[in-house]
Amino acid sequence: MSNDLWQLAITTEQFKGLYNYWIVIFLMMTGFFIVISRKNMIKTVIGLNIFQTSVFLLYITMGKVNNGTAPILGPEDAHHDDHSHDKSHDAEHAAHPFLNQISEQTPAQNVSVGNEPTAPLEVLAEAGNSGLIYSNPLPSVLMLTAIVVGIATTALALALIVRIREDYGTIEEDEILILDRES
């Protein structure tokens, strides 16, 4: 009994961290179901599209960092003394890569930079970072490529469907198989 309760506690703790993967897997399986259960070819392509978008979502959701923002560097980052700083940064923050964070720097203080122009800006420039946390850009890059390749394969599949319709007069797989056996 106590063992069951322990497992339940783990599950509720894990739920917040893993629910996004579960939803994505549900979407993926819905697309997979459409692909393997429907005989209509256009419906199959739609199912492939849904599966594909779910894979994009899986990658993008892995790239998110808590309290992060989009990986677009602000103008203050341009003032960096880049090379020397980068090496020290990599060494210091190897465990927290995307936290370009001064310890007590909060986003609210960062917003107030515009009102108090000189002093905080200098502090930021000396520290060599903007106090922002960036989410991981690599999944975004990979998925941009995948989206474009995905539309290419979709277009090719739809062109094939149009040709099949011209030759067979139907786009239902079972009817096409019957026609093939008769001929």
């Binding site: 961290g17 893993l18 993967y21 579960w22 939803i23 897997i25 549900f26 993926m28 819905t30 997979f32 179901f33 459409i34 393997i36 259960s37 209509n40 256009i42 739609i46 199912g47 978008t53 994009f56 979502l57 993008i60 959701t61 892995m62 790239g63 998110k64 960092v65 808590n66 992060g68 923002t69 677009i72 560097l73 602000g74 103008p75 980052d77 341009a78 960096h80 880049d82 090379h83 940064h89 465990a95 890569p97 995307f98 936290l99 991981n136 850009p137 999944p139 975004s140 890059v141 998925m143 490529t145 390749v149 539309i151 290419a152 979709t154 739809l158 062109a159 149009v162 040709r163 786009i171």
Partner: protein, 187 residues
Amino acid sequence: MIYIDIIILTLLAVTAVTVARIRDLWAAVMFTGIYSFLGASWMLLLDAPDVAFTEAAVGAGISTVLLLVTLALTSKTEKTSVSVPIVPLLVVIGTGAALIYGTLDMPHFGDPDAPVHTHPNPGFVERSQPDMHGLPNVVTAVLASYRGYDTLGETAVIFTAGIGVLLILRREKTSTEADDSTTEGTS
């Protein structure tokens, strides 16, 4: 933030199930567009605006247009089958259960120490701006420069697909033209 996440994810799930259940292909295509747009909205919340824009333009836009064109050239309704697809349902449930078992070892959502954030050395995020002479968007820097050959290959894929679509769709026309010319020649 988490509430809008939950709303969008619920809508995504409902839309996907609706696409699976609905028999009218026109409505299914429209729901696919909605699905892509909801996915793009969630990507925006997940700090990936570049992917969100691309998905909204390509997934919800071009993909929907291509599907509608195909519907106009073929048929708009799916043949209804009475049999319940029990085997696909079992396959899907089994695969889904295996995948969910696999997620139990995944790093939690938003965990900054996840391997995906540590293992390609993330120094490139800060190096990219000097490397690209002040380009602020890291995604663009990686896409167009650090992984430029990958993007070149992607362009080759698009080119090949475009040629393929043209060849597939033009074959009928050229063969009829050939027939016309032969008949003209014999007559």
